[in-house]
């Protein structure tokens, strides 16, 4: 893609395929191409078609077309690079859960403790621990509340919060 005309022809061609075209088509690959092929194709394209390279040589409409075409190819690249993780052919409707990995109702209860919460909650929990070590009870309470917001299901966090709040209440009368 050396010339402006070639770039615009490429963008027009991509946009003509529509927003839901199969990803390999947008990257000009064979069906079934793997993640490495997708990565190579996308990097090769980025070197010549990245919109920043053409910002000053195109009209506003032409530039918008190149940006949109590039964005769609980037979306296709994302799809191919993670294709193994999930099928992209199923289109779950609003109202039906997409193959929920719901455990049987008599599934074992996860062990209570910091390891049972999600990562985001764990980060806040660690911050709360840090605050507690430094005697900042109020800060610890806020961090715990944030942890609960991140993982409302973790009973462990609620217990910890109750404990710290009780601690604060004990300190107040002094």
């Amino acid at each position: 893609m050396k010339s402006k005309a070639e770039l615009l022809a490429w963008a027009k061609n991509i946009l003509a395929k529509g927003p839901t075209a199969p990803p390999h088509e947008l990257l000009q690959l064979r069906p079934g191409a793997d993640a490495t092929a997708a990565s190579d194709a996308f990097m090769k394209l980025a070197r010549v078609a990245h919109p920043d390279l053409h910002r000053n040589s195109l009209t506003e409409t032409e530039f918008d077309q190149v940006v949109l075409a590039y964005s769609r190819v980037a979306g296709a690249y994302q799809e191919l690079r993670t294709a193994r993780n999930r099928p992209h052919t199923t289109q779950p409707p609003f109202g039906a859960p997409p193959s929920p990995p719901s455990p049987p109702s008599n599934a074992a209860v996860p062990p209570a403790g910091p390891s049972s919460m999600n990562n985001k909650a764990l980060v806040y929990f660690r911050k709360a621990e840090l605050a507690l070590n430094q005697g900042e009870l109020r800060n610890a309470i806020l961090q715990l509340k944030m942890a609960i917001a991140a993982d409302p299901q973790a009973a462990f966090l609620r217990a910890a919060l109750a404990e710290v709040e009780a601690e604060l209440a004990r300190m107040k009368p002094q």
């Binding site: 990097m43 964005s71 980037a74 979306g75 609003f94 430094q134 109020r138 917001a149």
Partner: protein, 542 residues
């Protein structure tokens, strides 16, 4: 000759620079300083004071000194993070329209973009005075983990300051650009950006002029301020023990201790021990100001702050996994942000990467250098000399090569434009019934990006569809951060599954999300756009 400003709008300090044919020129403040405190004061004497001068009012009228606005900009007032950050400031913040946090100064309410626009306007004016030319275009840097709302609000701040914000770029990416532009090398680097208020870490692959971000991670509420607070807590305990006064209920006293703590922290980056006294303490009930002696060793400081430092190392490990890169593959670790001056931070990085980090760049200036290079590139005025100069930047006060009347001769050779391939900072998804999410855009996908998926209705004769959008990696909708809801109404009644609704998620080069939903079945394509909670409302945007 038009000039574009590269601006590093920081939590505690800001910096600005422009790319010149021979290097990067820094914008200097009224006293010749390159670093401009991100502080805006509305003193009783009237007017608006910005930068170093505004800091002087911190003790006399702290309720009128607005600092750390970056911790609130574009956030939802009700977010726990915001509530926590509010405990660390002495000015008043209330909830405004669209759940925006608003600063109360006397009888006025100001939005966070309005506060930040004062800092940007200050930088713009300094630049115009220094370069002798009008400035319109700018590139502003933001933390890599900034959300849509925060990015939109930062752009809004630029607009309010009379700037045309050509691009928002991520701070670690800007630092990588300052380091790598003009080198034409192939390598993988890690940018460790530990600033005053935020922590970011990015892994990039440099290949000639291409800067590809492989992965980016961060903690928006972790910075040098937290380390100051850790020391201030020790000082507070000392105060209680020695002077028999608990300073924690006295904000003015705590502020003084925080300022002392910051000075002690900086001292301990050079020396093994800090010993002295904090004087001028207005102790409640005392007739004259008191003094607090202190003695803190570097070892004690490291113990106090190791929790925070360990957290940054933990995030760095996470990002290496996300990038699929081994520590041995990283050929350079760039230290960015003032907190990387702490020897313990450098030591931990050296342990992790098994080589000393690169500390040759000025950690306070490298981000604005990168922003300046990107600004020059987008304007098409970048030259080969800029890259070399970026590493040996010389500030030439008052007599710029680009200013002074326009008789400037530029070298004939144009530099190869850098290609910045940044990434989407968080997974973006929609709510499907049953309480789960369906991902549209992945974290660390290249931007700009667009992805469209077709969904359908779940009930017969459903005429209304609500599309809840969220940000986060969790499978359950409720565990993620809600962004807003898109509504398509008056759909033609059809049996379930027959209606085709296209949902498009697009993240532009600024990292800002645009969501569109349209009904494909009825000939009339109705569309809806998303208004992100906490962001400036659509009417306010330019």
């Amino acid at each position: 000759m038009s000039v574009a400003l590269g601006i590093d709008l920081g939590t505690t300090n800001s910096a600005a620079a422009i790319a010149t044919p021979t290097g990067v020129e820094f914008i200097l403040g009224p006293r010749g300083e390159r670093v401009h405190p991100s502080v805006v004061a509305f003193p009783n004497s009237g007017g608006v004071v910005v930068g170093g001068d505004a800091k002087r009012y911190r003790l006399s009228e702290p309720q009128h000194v607005i600092h750390s606005a970056k911790r609130f900009i574009g956030q939802n007032f009700r977010a726990p993070m915001v509530q926590l950050a509010m405990t660390g400031v002495r000015y008043q913040i209330v909830e405004g329209a669209n759940q925006q946090p608003m600063v109360v100064v006397r009888d006025r309410q100001l939005t966070m973009p309005e506060i930040s626009s004062n800092v940007l306007l200050h930088l713009k004016r300094c630049a115009e005075r220094q370069l002798g030319t009008q400035i319109k275009d700018a590139v502003i840097t933001v933390p890599a983990n900034f959300t849509d709302g925060q990015r939109q609000a930062t752009k809004e701040a630029g607009r309010l300051a009379g700037l045309d914000v050509m691009r928002l770029i991520n701070e670690p990416t800007a630092a990588a650009l300052a380091y790598g532009f003009g080198r034409e090398k192939q390598q993988i680097i890690c940018v460790y950006d530990f600033g005053g208020g935020t922590f970011d870490v990015s892994i990039l692959r440099l290949d000639g002029e291409v800067f590809e971000v492989l992965a980016s991670e961060g903690d928006f509420f972790l910075g040098g301020d937290d380390l100051d607070r850790a020391i201030a807590e020790v000082l507070a305990a000392e105060c209680n023990r020695v002077l028999r006064i608990d300073p924690r209920p006295h904000p003015a006293l705590m502020m003084k201790l925080m300022m002392g703590a910051e000075a002690i922290k900086c001292h301990l980056s050079q020396e093994d021990e800090a010993e002295g006294e904090i004087d001028g303490l207005d102790l409640p009930g005392a007739s004259k100001p008191g003094q607090l002696p202190f003695q803190i060793t570097r070892k004690q400081f490291e113990e106090l702050t190791s929790g925070y430092i360990n957290r940054t190392i933990e995030v760095t490990r996470q990002v290496m996994v996300a990038a699929g890169v081994d520590v041995r593959a990283v050929s350079e670790v760039l230290c960015v942000g003032g907190s990387t001056r702490i020897p313990f931070v450098r030591q931990r990085l050296a342990e992790m990467f098994r080589k000393p980090p690169n500390t040759a760049l000025n950690p306070d200036e490298v981000v604005s250098q990168g922003a300046a290079i990107q600004a020059g590139s987008l304007l098409g005025t970048l030259h080969g000399g800029t890259g070399m100069g970026a590493r040996d930047a010389v500030a030439t006060a008052g007599h710029s090569m680009l200013g002074g009347g326009g008789n400037v001769v530029l070298p004939s050779h144009q530099a190869k434009r850098p290609v910045l391939m940044d990434v989407n900072p968080a997974t973006l998804a929609i709510h499907t019934a049953g309480g789960f999410t369906e991902r549209l855009l992945d974290k660390n996908a290249p931007i700009p990006i667009e992805r469209t998926r077709v969904f359908s209705t779940s009930r017969d004769n459903q005429t209304r569809v609500e599309i809840d959008c969220c940000r986060g990696e969790q499978r359950r909708y409720a565990d993620n951060e809600p962004l807003g809801t898109l509504v398509l109404d008056d759909l033609p009644p059809k049996p379930r599954g027959e209606l085709k609704i296209e949902v498009s998620f697009r993240v532009d080069a600024d990292g800002i999300l645009h969501v569109r939903a349209s009904d494909q079945t009825s000939g009339q394509q109705q569309e809806a756009h998303l208004q992100v909670i906490g962001a400036p409302t659509v009417g306010e945007q330019g």
